[in-house]
């Protein structure tokens, strides 16, 4: 149709999902900061009556940042770069636009209702799969609609070869679809009896050890296909676009992608070390977790080497700084995970605060940093305005980096301290500490963590403000910037 002219891409969906990313980001991190503070100051449990206890709010936090913030970020970036790497505009297909809009509204309303249901204690209790069956159906519908959009856009593409980022997004789509379906299999009790009890209640298809295995096959790999795969896809697009550098090595990309696809799912059983699942499964999970370092570091090193010879950009472009720090935290997190998956280390680390520590250096340092960088890169191109303030970006960067460091260092110390105290025995072989001793000792670390939460949330609000001002008051651009994002 217009093979020689530049395409006009349609960013309406990308913009909508960007707003949701920021909205759910603020909500999720606000709840996260509150529950962190509750562990340091238990009186904060009583702000909202029965709906405000740590136990009720923890799933609200996890689900809002996973299914609200991160998934919105994945959708927003897809509707931005999907068109660009496939060289086709969304506006060329009315059908895909309609599907995309239905996906947006269904997702938005579904996510809000699901969050409210969790506050009211309507939960299936499996971690990161707490939504009860009606919300599971909404999730599946949204996912199918997104799938139609990916496949549809691929179907009408002009660029024949799929770019690396598209591989990762396709894998994200397929992986989450498979995992989510199998893990959430449940029978709604109301419909198989004479209408007895609560229609929202369902009972899991799996029991005990099997349920645990399916759950952690899901739980671990929801992280894989939600927090790793699409985020790697993002950095493969945004880092070269921002820096003007070509990806360092195609072969390394290939190795990392297929390596990650094959190895990641085996590692799920490392969540069940020393449990009642058979020993060979535990060992398998442990061993594959260590192998997982290869594809993870493969991607991260590929990104860092992409900056080869251009490291000066790090000093004057805060966006590059966000992305380089993100891949560095990715490396930290993917070496820490395998260490925790070694059985002897796991004996101490499991059930302690070292685990949330590990999760958060991954998500705060890697996932959120990368999604914010992507939005900083997209905003001037979507709204045709300069980034409002470079200075604000710089201070946000340092504030949040400090927050992440405080978070994981305090939780490392807390986790190892508690793990060691649980097993400490005196000279006669009796346990040295009662459980409450090992709780009381954590108070200073819980305070540091709460502080780091406040700092990180403040940084995120600075980000939201910066984007808002970019939309409304940034200097208007006459042409789309080529590589480096313009900022005032």
């Amino acid at each position: 149709m217009q093979s020689n002219a530049t395409l006009e891409y349609d960013y309406s969906l990308a913009k909508k999902f960007t707003f949701l990313t920021i909205l759910f980001g603020i909500l999720g991190m606000l709840v996260g900061t509150l529950i962190a503070a509750q562990l340091a100051f238990p009186e904060l449990n009583y702000l909202l009556g029965e709906y405000g206890t740590f136990s009720r709010l923890r799933p609200v936090h996890t689900n809002t940042v996973i299914f609200g913030f991160t998934v919105s970020g994945i959708f927003a970036t897809w509707f931005y770069f999907g068109q660009r790497v496939l060289k086709v505009s969304m506006a060329e297909s009315k059908f895909l636009m309609v599907v995309g809009n239905i996906q947006f509204w269904l997702y938005f309303i579904g996510a809000l209702l699901a969050t409210i249901s969790l506050i009211f204690g309507v939960t299936a209790s499996k971690e990161y799969a707490q939504y009860e069956w009606p919300f599971d159906i909404v999730v599946v519908l949204v996912w199918v609609l997104w799938g139609i959009n990916i496949m549809g856009l691929i179907g009408i593409r002009r660029e024949k070869a799929l770019y690396i980022s598209v591989w990762y997004y396709l894998a994200c789509f397929l992986g989450i679809a498979m995992l989510y379906l199998f893990n959430n299999m449940a029978i709604p009790t109301y419909f198989v009896t004479e209408g007895l009890g609560n229609p929202l209640h369902a009972v899991s298809m799996y029991a005990g050890t099997n349920d645990a295995l399916v759950q952690w096959w899901y739980g671990h790999n929801a992280v894989a296909f939600g927090f790793t795969v699409p985020i790697v896809g993002m950095i493969y697009y945004f880092l070269p676009k921002e820096s003007g550098q070509a990806i360092y090595s195609y072969k390394l990309s290939l190795l990392s992608f297929w390596g990650l696809m094959f190895v990641y799912l085996w590692a799920g059983s490392h969540h069940l070390l020393w449990s009642t699942v058979p020993d060979w499964m535990q060992t398998m999970g442990s061993a594959f977790s260590v192998v997982l370092i290869l594809p993870s570091w493969g991607s991260a090193i590929n990104m860092l080497l992409t900056m080869k010879g251009e490291w000066n950009q790090l000093t004057d472009n805060p966006l590059i700084k966000f992305m380089v720090l993100a891949s560095t935290f990715y490396m930290l997190s993917t070496i820490e995970g395998p260490i925790q998956a070694i059985k002897s280390v796991n004996a101490i680390a499991h059930f302690t605060d070292w685990i949330p520590g590990h999760v958060h250096d991954g998500v705060l340092g890697w996932v959120v940093f990368m999604i914010m960088a992507a939005i900083f890169h997209m905003a001037p191109r979507m709204f045709k305005r300069e980034i409002y303030s470079k200075k604000l970006m710089e201070s946000q960067f340092w504030l949040q980096t400090t927050a992440v460091v405080l978070y994981f260092t305090s939780m490392w110390i807390a986790g190892i301290t508690q793990g060691m105290m649980w097993r400490a025995v005196d000279e006669y072989g009796n346990l040295m500490y009662s459980f409450i001793d090992t709780v009381a000792v954590l108070h200073p670390y819980y305070m540091i963590r709460a502080l780091s939460g406040v700092m990180y949330l403040t940084g995120f609000l600075m980000f939201a403000y910066n984007i808002f001002k970019t939309m409304t008051a940034g200097k208007e651009l006459t042409a789309e910037p080529q590589f480096r994002t313009p900022m005032a």
Binding site: F54, Y190, F351, V439
Partner: protein, 222 residues
């Protein structure tokens, strides 16, 4: 080159990804599935009251902070009792092992805590130890436990998974109405060891407070 070809053929690309990511689940989960589904000898399914308590445990999401999995280490068996066995969980849908011990493990809490201890503790954890960071769950003393849903759950698992509930467990409303007095009776036995007047009053009206169901469940964890 094969990969260049694959990248231009999305259908085969997606198929290849699907095959590669399916391996692990098939090999790790399927072979042991029926073995792991077997209960240990003599395992009884939970009563309707205990199931209702399990649902309170889920509703207030106790598993945010409490595990139900005793690992095979001396430090754990000394603290919590015998290490957990796979067959003990055979009727647990969902499994409630948890992943974080902000508070202690509860898998055998029924062996060393009593009804009145739980009553005091859930009303005000700081009355047991002032260093406790657990919130009070006073609303469980006034909220009504959903025993009808618990019954529906028992009937469902009986029919779908052959969980050994008796022949009186049927899908009809009439069967539920017939079973209901048994649940109230179980609840009254728990409440006999409690001092909260409101709880007794609610039970007299035929309503089971959440705290009673929860304690019945916690006492069954042995």
């Amino acid at each position: 080159m094969f990969f260049h070809w694959l990248e231009k053929n999305p259908f085969f690309f997606a198929s290849a990804v699907s095959i590669v990511i399916s391996f692990a689940g098939l090999i790790e989960i399927v072979p042991n599935f029926s073995q792991a589904a077997r209960p240990i000898a003599g395992l009884k399914p939970r009563t309707v009251l205990q199931l209702a308590g399990k649902n309170v445990y889920m509703k207030d999401n106790c598993m945010s902070c409490h595990s139900q999995l005793i690992r095979p280490f001396k430090a754990e068996t000394d603290r919590y009792g015998e290490y957990s066995l796979s067959g003990e969980y055979a009727f647990d849908r969902p499994f409630l092992w948890g992943s974080k011990r902000t508070g202690p493990d509860l898998h055998r809490v029924g062996n060393y805590r009593t009804t009145d201890w739980h009553e005091n503790h859930m009303w005000n954890p700081k009355s047991v130890d002032e260093r406790s960071i657990m919130p009070a769950y006073k609303h469980q003393f006034t909220n009504v436990a959903d025993i009808e849903t618990a019954y529906a759950e028992a009937v469902t698992v009986k029919n779908a998974f052959h969980t050994p509930y008796g022949p009186e467990f049927k899908t009809t409303r009439a069967a539920w109405e017939a079973h209901r007095p048994k649940v109230i009776e179980d609840a009254k036995k728990i409440a006999a060891d409690m001092k909260n007047e409101g709880v007794k009053k609610m039970l007299a009206e035929g309503k089971v407070p959440e705290i009673v169901a929860l304690i019945a469940y916690l006492n069954s964890l042995k």
